[in-house]
């Protein structure tokens, strides 16, 4: 059973029947329950319309809902707004062939969500030297320091399994909005909230002290190549 969309127990009827009853009937019969997308998994954007009643199927942001106890044995989470079609086909193919899918604590396939969206980003050199971009859509610069990019702490594989097989948010020069996370959508998606010039949230799994030390060292150098355009069209 594949569920999409956020979830409410009452007040969402189709042909006179509560969708809740329909979903519960099939979820009990199903061998696997896949929550596809951030709404179905965590509640997502539409949870904000009525946070007291709207949740994901088995999670309400990071909290487990009452359904978790019933369905955790067959639950596979595929958050993302939207989820990538290849993430779904990866899971369906593995299930069809009885290949085990290692899951994390949120029941996300680790194969797809163990690393961050930052892994494989084409801007990694600018990230290492703490050089932010001068604007959206440019080839130069990182988007983490000023433009709100959440890739270093967002679980996902957008820069390993590209969108439409060609691109990703950070490739074209748009910040990652953290759409696979239980916290999606945060406020202020186009700016980084900083603390004394340092991003408030540091890359996933990196101790803040280690991050600040490396940042301090990287920022103390002035590197000419990062001040220039990568491609000059008027030469």
């Amino acid at each position: 059973l594949i569920l999409d969309g956020s979830f409410r127990k009452t007040g969402f009827q189709k042909l006179g029947r509560e969708i809740y009853d329909v979903v519960m009937t099939y979820a009990q019969k199903a061998v696997h329950v896949i929550t596809l997308g951030t709404c179905a998994t965590f509640g997502g954007i539409y949870r904000e319309g009525d946070p007291e009643h709207i949740t994901g199927f088995c999670f309400n942001e990071t909290e487990k809902t009452e359904r978790y106890a019933h369905f955790h044995n067959k639950l596979i989470s595929l958050p993302g707004c939207p989820a990538h079609p290849k993430w779904l086909s990866f899971v369906l193919m593995a299930l069809a062939r009885n290949i085990p899918i290692p899951l994390d604590e949120m029941h996300r396939p680790q194969e797809l969500y163990a690393s961050t969206v930052h892994a494989g980003c084409v801007r990694n050199e600018y990230f290492e030297w703490k050089i932010d971009t001068k604007g959206h859509g440019l080839k130069e610069g990182c988007l983490f320091y000023e433009n709100g990019c959440q890739a270093p702490y967002t679980h996902g594989s957008c820069n390993k399994i590209p969108w439409n097989e060609v691109s990703s948010k950070t490739t074209v020069g748009t910040p990652c909005f953290g759409c696979t996370e239980p916290t999606f959508p945060k406020k202020g998606l186009f700016r980084t909230s900083t603390n004394m010039g340092i991003p408030g949230e540091v890359p996933l799994g990196i101790p803040k002290r280690a991050y600040l030390t490396v940042t301090g060292i990287a920022k103390s150098f002035k590197i000419k190549k990062f001040e220039e355009r990568m491609i000059t069209y008027d030469r």
Partner: protein
């Protein structure tokens, strides 16, 4: 006689409620069971967040919703005396052309 019909191919789903009289349609009521309240969700956020949230109202026609948000923001910039007309219209035409 009343026949209810689901409309499946739109995001959010709607229901048509037909009443017939002697084989002819007498009345049709359309009802939308799902109200998501995206305008309310945007309240209190950074205006630019609308560029991320608005298109997610629909997986099929997200471009139209995004352009609506873009135009609303551009109106805001124009009222604030900021020039947004230099590049934007041509981008929008390309975007819709795709």
């Amino acid at each position: 006689m009343i026949v209810k019909k689901l409309i499946e191919k739109i995001e959010g789903d709607a229901e048509l409620d037909f009443s017939f009289n002697e084989g002819k349609i007498e009345d049709v009521k359309i009802s939308f069971a799902l109200y998501r309240g995206i305008e309310g969700i945007l309240a209190g956020k950074d205006p630019r967040d609308a560029l991320v949230i608005t298109p997610r109202v629909c997986g099929i026609c997200n471009h139209a919703h995004l352009i609506t948000a873009v135009r609303a923001l551009e109106d805001g910039y124009r009222h604030a005396g900021i020039d947004v007309d230099r590049q934007s219209p041509s981008y929008q035409r390309v975007y819709f052309g795709m």
